[in-house]
Symmetry: C5
Subunit: 146 residues, 5 copies
């Protein structure tokens, strides 16, 4: 979608570290509500095993509703294809008045999700090892409860 | 639907610039919640490859709920047909007290979405080239993050 | 459903003007959330081509949620049957403290939707001719934007 | 579910008045969100024609969301099985601070829905005869509009 | 998911009391919205009969929306597989400022749901015997209505 920063480049940077083990395709759509059908086409028609859906919903109430509808669609696509879609939505109003900080958040979150995608595909045990540690994408991690 | 301005005429004006490459059908319904089944009929029974769904939800809380339900339906249709539907909803209360401005917004948004529809069908790379630029339909564009 | 006024009689009055061209069946259910499955049975098992779903949700928050769930169900039925359902819900709290006015609204809305149902079945071009005129059911029409 | 009063006993009392014409099965689940799949199993695998889903959602915001999700699930089950499910949810905060009154409400609503279930199965015309009279379950009836 | 405490260990502790009668698999995902497709894979592809879905949604409005979307997905999976999924979500803001108390809640709720899972699989009559007693997981029980 026409977000203000092209997170796809960060995702691609991570995926290219796994050249030979992971291939990728890029499908750009006009808005976040167009992501689910694009994901379905990638998973069902174009041989993909996982989708990373990148979007930047706007700040208005209507944009929040659109993001919810998009999420519901991405959920449905996962359930009918039985393949994972990792949703990476950066909300424009995540307290992000500072462009430099916004860009850092977007980069970090895009890269973390891309890394999780790689684990789901190539090394799922890695995710179990990380469970219960309060690790988050693009935010300070929460502390674990001992 | 019985909106106050017939956006379909603007959509048709764009599509007619592509005569010979794109054909279109028009299907008018009484209300926005009738759009999803009409879209399904166009995509599943009448040979269409993409739908542009035009609607103008009213200003009341109930109208917002109807718009959400319509959106959810349009999402479902896309996922079962694996074809894009571009939703163009103009909310009557988008700060649009001025009829002249309202008409301009509606025209601009209808035409932009029609242009995106053409790109999705004929030149999808064009959308990738535009990614990350903060371009929006019917609003001043957001500025990109450098 | 057990609404305070039986809108079905007004719908039937309109449909009977088309005797010979339109046949109808009536299916009464206890509550609005029972409408979707009844509609599915009419469209899928009993040979109907269109349903007019009449309901009068109550005024409480919980009733609003029920109305939304019912709407979502009616949407799903339309999409799986590829047939129209016209939803005619009169909310008890539509500023309608006056019983005489309430009855007029209910009659007008039931009849308008019945007329639209007839157009969808027999004369869909009629709806296109009416597009962009801001015509509404059971309210003063919105004025068109010139 | 583990509600504070076992409404199933009232439902069973009504159904036993129709011994020989109606048979029933009971399926208890831990929480309201477990009702939809239990209903699907009863309708799809165990030969039932209708389900009465009894639940008592808690008073918190999260409980309201759970009740909505449960309702949506019950709706989906109805649409795929094309059989009725009557949802009988008593919200703990329906202004019911008085246990005696709460119990009366629960009994009345459980019995009314059980009676409606019987009508749907054995005598659907009865429901049409009652339409437009403003009859409600577990509340004073609304008055009809003349 | 990367919650702050690994509830899966408590679930496993309960399940291991039934060694020989119950087998289990663990599937860790990055976030709560990834739970539904993982559940579908476990139920549809990997021979499981029931899923216990453990998650700890964050405290923000957006996290609440994600939890709702995840719940809706878990509901859909149950309905298409006709198998139970017990959802165990601990909301970070359940009035739980005290880590010791939070851990107790999480342990208690995880174990109670695991026990219910066992009853659903091995001894469903046990759940009927407990109905109407106001028993809750991870909270003081509500008192029954006599």
């Amino acid at each position: 979608m026409f977000a203000r920063y092209d997170m796809a480049k960060d995702v691609i940077a991570v995926l290219e570290e796994y050249t030979g083990r992971i291939q990728y395709k890029r499908y750009t759509v006009p808005g976040i509500k167009d992501l689910p059908v694009a994901s379905k086409i990638l998973l069902n028609q174009r041989g993909c095993d996982l989708v990373i859906a990148l979007g930047m919903p706007g700040p208005k109430a209507y944009d929040k509703v659109s993001a919810k509808t998009a999420s519901e669609g991405l959920m449905q696509v996962q359930l009918t294809t039985e393949k994972h879609i990792l949703e990476v939505f950066i909300h424009e109003d995540e307290g992000l008045e500072d462009d430099t900080y916004l860009k850092e958040i977007m980069q970090d979150r895009a890269r973390s999700h891309a890394q999780n995608a790689v684990y789901l595909l190539l090394d799922p045990q890695k995710l179990t090892d990380m469970a219960g540690q309060g690790i988050r994408q693009g935010y300070p991690d929460a502390r674990p409860v001992y």
